[in-house]
């Protein structure tokens, strides 16, 4: 599956400077700047309500920024939204194809809206069907498709005009793991052919697939860089995994222990950021035992993106304060 973007020679395909978006009193995006190069996969990682969708909508010209400037494919989005729209594909967070249309009718409709040249329509639609794995299901009503197929059909519709830049707003939410994997293969194929891809997600494993990540919290980019770079960010000390019984009181105690910089629950264990791994491993079991807490395991681990996020924001990606976008 090769999808090639016909875009200007410029290496920077998207640039945002000091973007601010307010909805009344609420500041959804609070001074965000970034740029993305051609063929790059840029991920926006953050909890619901962090402002990821708002940023993507501004870049697609669906929302006007309160202040700041965004350039997409070389055009100012606020000034020339229609030209920008010819160069982008967009998949919104909520599935937004027509459920009462057949698969083929949706594809034809979007091919028409994107003014795909007449002689290319059939081959493009065939390619999209193959990509989505929907060949033979052309006449199915879209409403009857399972989540993964719907998602891939939406992607197929969004790239019928071979856009240079693709914006995917939580494209895999509510989709089974195998479909997610398939979907990411498609995204990588597209990036390899020169398409710049923006993806927002709150799945940590997906974030690892991106070339570059921007961690977003409360409308701000709190850190950005390649996933491996970001993990190195956790430079204040080492990360320990502690298995304790009971977990709640252990967390409360360790939070105020002088050796522990940061403590958070991960699954059925605790992640502790400490200054010195060796000293902490030696001291903590004794300390916990004195407070009648059983410690069944304590070892050093390598940090995940979630750990980075916790350290930078003091909150988890999944259950940070939720605010409707």
């Amino acid at each position: 599956m090769m999808i090639t973007g016909d875009q200007p020679a410029s290496a920077v395909s998207v640039e945002a400077r000091d973007l601010v978006k307010r909805f009344g009193e609420f500041t959804a995006v609070d001074g965000v700047s970034f740029s993305a190069a051609r063929g790059e996969i840029l991920g926006f990682l953050g909890p619901n309500g962090a402002g990821k969708s708002t940023i993507i909508r501004i870049l697609c010209g669906l929302l006007r920024p309160t202040s700041g400037k965004a350039t997409v494919a070389g055009f100012d989005v606020a000034a020339k939204p229609e030209i920008v729209r010819q160069h982008i594909g967009y998949m919104s967070q909520k599935f937004s194809l027509y459920n009462d249309l057949q698969v083929i009718e949706n594809l034809r409709f979007f091919a028409g809206l994107y003014s795909v040249p007449r002689n290319l329509v059939d081959s493009r639609i065939r390619a999209a069907l193959a990509m989505a794995g929907l060949a033979g299901h052309e006449r199915d009503l879209t409403r009857t498709l399972a989540g993964g197929w719907k998602q891939r059909l939406a992607l197929g519709c969004a790239v019928l005009h071979r856009p240079a830049i693709l914006f995917l707003d939580e494209p895999t939410s509510g989709v089974d793991p195998i479909s997610r994997r398939l979907f990411w293969d498609l995204i990588h194929d597209m990036a390899a052919s020169g398409v710049t891809v923006f993806v927002s997600t709150h799945y940590m494993d997906e974030a690892e697939y991106c070339n570059r990540l921007a961690l977003i919290n409360r409308g701000r980019i709190v850190a950005s860089g390649a996933p491996t770079e970001l993990k190195r960010h956790l430079s204040k000390g080492a990360l320990l995994l502690a298995k304790c019984e009971p977990l709640g009181p252990a967390l409360e105690l360790l939070r105020y222990h002088p050796d522990v910089l940061e403590a958070a629950v991960f699954g059925n264990a605790l992640h502790l950021t400490v200054r010195d791994a060796g000293a902490a491993i030696a001291a903590l079991p004794q300390f916990l035992a004195e407070h009648s807490i059983r410690c069944t395991g304590l070892r050093e681990i390598s940090p995940t993106l979630e750990d980075v996020f916790v350290e930078l924001t003091g909150g988890r990606v999944r259950d940070a304060e939720v605010r409707p976008e």
Binding site: P81, G112, L113
Partner: protein
């Protein structure tokens, strides 16, 4: 505007209408239902008005008078009663609308003095029927007295003369010769149907996209607001024209209303009216992002003014001046005027230049606003 995108929009909209039972019902069944309901439901003709008689005399003369009531197609002489309470009871319980009381000295006074009176008691709760009943009763009775007078003169050996009053009006009704109220109503009902169906259908079209979340995808494409509007309205325009044809066929073949105008004038003026109606529906749909809300507003702004102030049933000339002034704002009134003229008078567009001009002004204004109403943004 790009032909590709326009065709894509229109085709998609048509497919959606075809698959949406609610739209199909409004488009095809509602016009038929409305024409049938209103066509049969509203009638200002009073025929076979039930009459009770209280004949105190029971003479040959009084019987002759009652026979005339019986013979009239406007009355149905149900029965005779023997006292006032029975008559009052019949009116109270709605068994009759008119009571005729013939006094015990009816024929005696008639023969002695040449004048006499009968009492007619009318149920005035429905003033229209009451008026008609009184008018018809007067006609029946004056027919009876005319004949009695002629008989009397003949018996006296006097010349009978012309047999009627010295001056009489020879009435000739134009356009609705039989004064069938249905002929007056049906063209108006057609206007009501067109106004309602047009606005109701289009009121759903943009709201549906917001409600189902498809709008976000739609506006992320290069389609322009004008293409969205025209693409969406083209199928509804076609449906509107089809409904007009349906109404015409039902009106002429089912209700046997005369159609004296030309199809050309009917369809050009209908096209003009549809532009206004669809534009109004589209603006409502853009403004209110839920289908339920939009359809209710559409009902409110089309049904009320059109049924009350368009003159389809309630003559505008009889309204008080301030209300009459308001009717000039109701675009349906021009179409009602046009339809009545085309159906009954058979006049062409030229004779209708006034209302056609008014509708054109509306079409341009509504079109202008509608084109600016829809913006491709998620900002409220």
């Amino acid at each position: 505007m790009s032909g590709n995108r326009l065709i894509a929009m229109a085709r998609k909209e048509l497919i959606q209408i075809r698959r949406d039972p609610r739209s199909l019902l409004i488009a095809l069944l509602m016009p038929i239902m409305q024409l049938l309901l209103l066509g049969y439901g509203i009638s200002l003709d009073a025929k076979h008005i039930p009459v009770y008689a209280y004949d105190q005399e029971g003479s040959q003369d009084s019987q002759a008078l009652l026979k005339r009531f019986q013979a009239s197609e406007y009355f149905n002489l149900v029965t005779t009663v023997d006292n006032y309470p029975q008559l009052a009871d019949a009116i109270d319980s709605d068994r009759c609308k008119l009571g005729i009381v013939i006094p015990f000295d009816f024929s005696e006074r008639l023969r002695d003095t040449g004048t006499t009176a009968v009492q007619a008691i009318v149920d005035g709760t429905d003033d229209n029927t009451a008026n008609l009943a009184m008018g018809y009763a007067r006609a029946v009775i004056s027919g009876f007295s005319g004949e009695f007078q002629r008989d009397w003169l003949a018996r006296q050996g006097l010349p009978v003369g012309g047999g009627g009053p010295p001056v009489s009006v020879d009435t000739r009704v134009w356009f609705n010769e039989d004064l069938e109220s249905r002929n007056f109503f049906i063209p108006g009902i057609v206007a009501l149907v067109m106004a309602l169906v047009g606005a109701l259908l289009t009121s759903l079209t943009v709201a549906r996209e917001w409600e189902r979340g498809t709008m976000e995808q739609l506006i992320s494409t290069p389609v322009t607001p004008k293409e969205v509007m025209f693409g969406k309205l083209i199928p509804y325009f076609a449906i509107g024209m089809l409904d007009a044809l349906l109404c015409l066929v039902m009106g002429v073949w089912w209700f046997e209303v005369p159609f004296r105008g030309t199809l050309f004038s009917l369809f050009t003026t209908t096209a003009l009216f549809l532009i206004v109606v669809l534009g109004v529906g589209f603006m409502i749909s853009v403004g209110i992002r839920s289908q339920l809300g939009a359809s209710q507003i559409a009902l409110l702004v089309t049904l009320l003014p059109t049924s009350l102030l368009s003159g389809y049933a309630f003559p505008i000339d009889q309204m008080p001046a301030p209300v009459r002034a308001i009717t000039y704002l109701v675009y349906s009134r021009y179409y009602v005027t046009i339809l009545k003229a085309i159906f009954l008078k058979g006049v062409g567009i030229r004779a209708l230049s006034g209302p056609v001009f008014a509708l054109s002004v509306y079409a341009v204004a509504v079109g202008w606003f509608a084109m600016r109403a829809f913006r491709k943004t998620l900002d409220q």
